[in-house]
Amino acid sequence: MSQDTTAHHDDHHDAHHPTGLARWLFSTNHKEIGTMYLVFSLAMFLVGGAMALIIRAELFAPGLQLVNPEFFNQMTTMHALVMIFGAVMPAFVGLANWMVPLMIGAPDMALPRMNNWSFWILPFAFTLLLATLFMPSGGPSSGWTLYPPLSLQGGNSLAFVILAIHLMGISSIMGAINIIATILNMRAPGMTLLRMPLFVWTWLITAFLLIAVMPVLAGAVTMLLTDRFFGTSFFNAAGGGDPVLYQHIFWFFGHPEVYILILPAFGIVSEIIPTFSRKQLFGYTSMVYATASIAFLSFIVWAHHMFTVGMPLGAMLFFMYATMVIAVPTGVKIFNWVATMWRGSMTFETPMLFALGFVVLFTIGGLSGLMLAIVPANFQYHDTYFVVAHFHYVLVTGAVFAIMAAVYYWLPKWTGHMYNEKLGKIHFWWSTIWVNVLFFPQHYLGLAGMPRRIPDYAVQFAEFNMISTIGGFMYGFGQLLFVYIIWQCVRGGEKATAQVWEGARGLEWTVPSPAPLHTFDTPPLVDDSVAVHKDTLA
């Protein structure tokens, strides 16, 4: 009976596959849904990027030039929300959708219908969020952290923003549940946990973080909503509440969120560096443990985002030391990446260039993070451009560079064509040079005392701001080249082989390029000859 239905099922796989809009609206296929996530993410990356350019244009010279301060604040708020929830997170979920089933030998995601829902909530959530910009009272302008009391004093946008965040949260939680269920339940026979590619491992841990903290964000913004509209006093000292309470709850979400934005990037880099070094990843098991340690530590460091708010000394010491401990597992990772390259036969195709750019530039962001962890220094750096420089190094040259590396790495598998290598290299060098022109001067601005989220500044900051803005526009418009390269690769190009890269190992390279709509309907048998990593414990 069950065999009967299976055969029946397979017969009808492609025969009735809908076309046109219906194909995308009703899809249950992990590859199609992955593609939708990635396209959506790219669109949001450009929208958020345009907002960043408005910010940089205003800061090109001192004085108020282009936009009024209210709109400037809306841009800083929206830029962050769009980039975090609209660009980086969906990009990683899209990559997980495409690659996790291929890497573990699963026929699809564990819960295919819910997968569709996770994606299709996002365009609606961002419509709700972005629509606030066109309302008479404008968009949210309190910064993406929505600290009360400021966020409670804005216009009509607050309710829309909070409900949009709820939608994003629902989407993220369902996406994360799906990824965990897929990884834990859908692995091909022989794909033991310690044979899994590191991208799968990092996503397993990321999914756990998402399920643990997105509901906490939902709680925090719900309290904002009831404080504003239903007379509660969670964040109102007159009623016995405390505005600082919001910051604690928010950053209890916010710090794990930062690692949600970077752990999959670690996974991507751990796939790419071995391929182009033609060596196995150095210290595979330690990479897994380091990832888990970082995830654990992310729950006990949140208050380092709010050292200046006024906390007991003991709390500050605890959060300072706990934060510095994160440098240990992160150092393990960076050591392992470098050790993987040691004496490898390295080549420098575009994915490898972006991965190397990641290792170097993310490390800069990590080191400025250590500086920020030191409480007395933090009192000086807090809310300055030094913080802005720090998190853009980890998020742009960290997360975004890793996503770009992943796109170049797997694009031939997705499209069946090689991208234009020459243009890819130009894209890398262009981005790397200008992103440093964009963000490096911001360290100096911050150390010299320029505050963040302010549309105007004292004249002594003029030169570095001008340089930064030039870097911003060059980097920003350079990303149109990225869009063009993807477009060109989708349309045609040199045929890609199944393995694509000479040194590539793992199940995703055993299926043809482009990967057919349905892969691994019959699960492959995984042993040490196919697995990326030998399971030393099995």
């Binding site: 239905t5 299976t6 829902w117 939680i173 549940i177 509901p215 007379g231 006093s233 405390d242 006024g310």
Partner: protein, 286 residues
């Protein structure tokens, strides 16, 4: 290999319906909060679409399950889905419990002048004493009394704990294929759930009308009503689950071995039970 016949539906029409429903619901809610005239209508329309979606989606899943399309692996995926969903709910409640603990242990004593709060107290709120329950230095919402724990809340605790027993008896009956006992204990569980909800509603009316305790009664009112309110909402959701499962039991769904739908509802019911124990201890008693 069980793996090879993992059921992957070809297309899914309900998710996009759900997304449109959620969108209309949220737009309606936001409009309503901002006193927009269309708010309540859009809110209701969105809610209706979401209900249709839930009904239709579950009907599809039940049909497929009854049709024997699901193998062991699909069952395990559903189990993962439910476990991690409940974990996300636990974390949602954790945020509100966190707010309660923070207020009681840290911020209210600081307002009363403890630790680094000495100057805050002296300059901003002189004379404010840190006691719990409190509605803050400004005495927001006026005078109020609290609901004593060892009255109706204790009764409610016993009712919920008993409902945990009755649903387990129902489970045992299911595993022994005693259909009559199964339905009986399920109905008993639902009756207990409804009694719990009635007592909670009575308590809310009593608090608002007689005790002066409202959502606006400072931090005490905020934490009390948001914690018990979200719990009550989850009890309502759990009760609806129990009702649907009971109807399915009466229709002969589920077998001795294969009854994940039942177990999912039971897990959820135990989850609301455990949350209540936390509420009873930290909101009502201590």
């Amino acid at each position: 290999m069980a793996h090879s016949s993992y059921y992957v539906p070809h297309t899914a029409k309900w998710p996009i319906v759900g997304s449109v429903g959620l969108f209309i619901f949220m737009v309606g809610a936001a409009n309503w909060l901002n006193q927009g005239p269309t708010g309540p209508w859009l809110f209701a329309l969105g809610a209706a679409i979401i209900l249709v979606m839930i009904f239709g989606w579950f009907a599809d899943v039940i049909r497929e399950s009854q049709g024997g399309l699901y193998n062991q692996a699909v069952d395990i995926s559903f189990r993962h889905g439910m476990i991690w969903f409940i974990f996300s709910e636990v974390m949602f409640f954790a945020a509100f419990f966190g707010a309660l603990f923070y207020a009681r242990v840290l911020s209210v004593p600081w307002l009363g002048g403890e630790g680094t709060g000495a100057m805050t107290n002296a300059l901003l709120y002189p004379g404010f004493e840190a006691v719990w329950p409190t509605h803050g230095p400004a005495a927001l919402g006026g005078d109020f009394q609290t609901i004593p724990g060892f009255g109706l809340p204790l009764l409610n605790t016993l009712i919920l704990l008993t409902s945990g027993v009755t649903i387990t008896l129902a489970h045992w009956a299911l595993k022994r294929a005693q259909r009559g006992a199964l339905v009986f204990w399920m109905v008993a569980t639902i009756v207990l759930a409804l009694i719990f909800l009635s007592i909670q509603s009575y308590e809310y009316v009593h608090a608002y009308r007689d005790l002066g305790l409202t959502l606006g009664s400072g931090i005490y009112g905020s934490t009390f009503f948001m914690l018990t309110g979200f719990h009550g909402l989850h009890v309502i959701i759990g009760t609806l689950m129990l009702i649907v499962i009971t109807i399915r039991c009466a229709f002969g769904h589920f077998s001795k071995k294969n009854h994940f739908g039942f177990e999912a509802a039971a897990w959820y019911w135990h989850f609301v039970d455990v949350v209540w124990l936390g509420l009873f201890i930290f909101v009502y008693v201590i």
